[in-house]
Amino acid sequence: MSDPVLDVKHLSTSFFTDDGEVKAVRDVSLQLYPGETLGIVGESGCGKSVTAMSVLGLVQRPGRVVAGEILFKGRDLLKVPSDELRQVRGRDIAMIFQDPLSSMNPVLRVGFQIDEAMYAHDKIPKEQVHSRDVELLKQVRVPDAVNRLRDYPHQFSGGMRQRAMIAMGLSNKPQILIADEPTTALDVTVQAQILELLRDLNQQLGTSIILITHNLGVVAGLCTRVIVMYAGEIVEEGPVEQIFEHPQHPYTWSLLRSLPRIDANRKDRLRSIEGLPPDLIDPPPGCEFSPRCPFRIERCFSEDPDLAEVAPRQHAACWVTMDRAYAEMNAGSITDTRPGAASGVRPPKDLEPSAAETAETAMQSEPEPVGADEQA
């Protein structure tokens, strides 16, 4: 495989709040290859957006990148001066955000805002800027492009605004486009159109895309490789087909089974993930997912697993992995998703969550010894 266009090594980003240091991203390494669409999935607060913000130097106080390297074209973006980083941002690496309305200036015409992005970087010759903005709007399939350039953002619908944002992002022909929840605010029919647009642009222009989303369906449709994050760490990564068919981390596995699927048997009860994500000021020792994991073993409470190869090109950070869980704990037939249900392992005494914290899970089911019958 060719060299990555972006190589993030051991990135850690923290927010220094009054309550303590929130370790939002911990030791995240990722590579983005030319022409690739990489998905980063996870729930709110898992660090997926902060990772992207860190790449572009957009983390604001009280947040700060505390460790790591972000290598782009052989340079560490964390070390370049801010005016040089500004030249990279928007020119070589562009970003589009979830809410296209608040990402645009309401009192400036859409055309002006697209032009501005090009003038700022001098990559596109000035005399070409005007013809290029029409071309861009056509490329993102805004009908009647010539006239729509004179409109203000409020005259655009949500989907059209996101298209205009994508046009802005593409204006300087960036190598990388980071899309942070680009379709979350949109209706599903519009979402499908935007995703199709991103797919076509990726194929036609060869732009590498990092797609950040909580929607596993979106990842399945657009991405070739996926990174799953939980509580600030990468728990699993690999080619999309493998991750969806043979997830090895219990979190990925649980997440896929907790979704109501439009093509599934409706009578199946959803396998929820009990409990809540951990507090990132004081993450649990050992594996972050262990307090919620049905397959945990004793080791999970004391040692944090590193990413290890579990299949060709697929890595998971888990002591158990689903292959073993299927073989030894009958993972396929478990219906009880309570923590430790499949393995029967309870946390050590000193880690036993206090009464207050367990409320969400403990009260839901009878206090019988967890997992004993599933083992049989």
Binding site: E43, S44, S157, G159, M160, D187, V188, T189, Q191, A192, Q193, L195, E196, H214, N215, L216, G217, V218, V219, A220, G221, V240, E241, F244, E245, S254, L255, L256, S258, L259, P260, R261, I262, D263, A264, R266, R269, L270, R271, S272, I273, E274, L276, A355, A356, T358, A359, E360, T361, A362, M363, Q364
Partner: protein, 348 residues
């Protein structure tokens, strides 16, 4: 469940032995905007809901689904039409008599942050409906609050805490406990899980299903996420521009549709499976949703419909919501052509 929904004031095929818990007949809600214009948010909707079932209501933003939910609970008055709950006509009730009916009609809201008063304790929030109706006080009330907390899977000793101490999923549980306080018959759930993370969504959906079984509740479940709606509902109603365009049993909604809009909506839903995704074909809708101030003539959907015959019957005549094949009701002149004319992905 064969003829749960029928258009018009006199349901044509209603099963005689079952009387609906809720019957909407030609319900219209227009919001006035400016001098001579009104937003036709709900534009002639009729359906029945039977006791113990869950009816899902889906549609894209602005289709009128939330307005319809608010009309059912009488949070806003109808412009015309009738809403009969049990044997009481709600739209003509006012004051105390309407208030008494509210005991049986409760609502769960989308935003678990905005729907709980930050300055009340969780116990007071859940007890408020009991206090409003003067049903319980003192010890008895406290016991009821603790019981409700337990029922929704929270620690019963959390009653002295404040909403900000809870996560989104826990707050939604508090909202559910409040809705249950008066032992309602019908609960309108307006996007109850769309603000929650995926792993928490499943917890709340399972809780709602458990509560339904335990207390024999009837739900109207409003959401934009068709996968969630289909999972929890017995029947799904699809809305477009203030009208119901299709009603289908959840089991075969994915396999067959009788309205082109439903088909387009289904084709747009991403499935978390790359193999299916690679085969999925989008039923493209042209243009955007027209303004509900001035909806298109005839069938509201004809301007975007891939199989519309306009000019022609689609632009001229409004199709009635009527029985098509396999227990589907659809408002389309060419429902028979939907499956053959519009193919998408693995469903065909």
């Amino acid at each position: 469940m064969t003829s749960a929904v029928a258009p018009g004031p006199a349901p044509a095929e209603a099963t005689p032995q079952r009387t609906p818990l809720l019957r909407l007949t030609d319900v219209v809600k227009h919001f006035r905007v400016g001098v001579n214009a009104s937003v036709k948010a709900v534009d002639g909707v009729s359906f029945d809901v039977f006791e113990g079932e869950t009816v899902g209501l889906v549609g894209e933003s602005g289709c009128g689904k939330s307005t319809l939910g608010r009309l059912i609970t009488q949070l806003i008055p109808v412009t015309s039409g009738t809403i009969v709950f049990g044997d009481t006509e709600l739209t003509t009730l006012g004051g105390e008599r309407l208030r008494q009916q509210r005991k049986h009609l409760q609502m769960i809201f989308q935003d678990p942050f905005a729907s709980l008063d930050p300055r009340m304790t969780v116990g007071d929030i859940i007890a408020e409906p009991l206090m409003n109706f003067g049903l319980m006080r003192g010890r008895e009330k406290d016991r009821r609050v603790q019981e409700l907390l337990r029922v929704v899977g929270l620690n019963p000793y959390f009653n002295n805490r404040y909403p900000h101490e809870f996560s989104g999923g826990q707050r939604q549980r508090i909202g559910i406990a409040r809705a249950l306080a008066l032992n309602p018959k019908l609960i309108v759930c307006d996007e109850p899980v769309s603000a929650l993370d995926v792993s928490i969504q499943a917890q709340i959906i399972n809780l709602l299903e458990d509560l339904q079984k335990e207390f024999g509740l009837t739900y109207i479940f409003i959401a934009h996420d068709l996968s969630v709606v289909r999972h929890i509902s017995d029947r799904v109603m699809v809305m477009y521009l203030g009208k119901i365009v299709e009603v289908a049993p959840s089991e075969d909604l994915y396999r067959s549709q009788a309205h082109p809009y439903t088909r387009a909506l289904l084709s747009a839903i991403p499935v978390p499976d790359p193999r299916i995704e690679s085969k999925r074909r989008l039923v493209e809708l042209s243009g955007e949703i027209p303004s509900p101030i001035n909806p298109p003539s005839g069938c509201h959907f004809h301007t975007r419909c891939p199989i519309a015959r306009a000019p022609g019957v689609c632009a001229d005549e409004e199709p009635p919501l009527e029985r098509k094949r396999d227990g589907h009701l659809a408002a389309c002149h060419f429902a028979e052509d939907v499956i053959t004319a519009l193919t998408f992905g693995p469903a065909t």
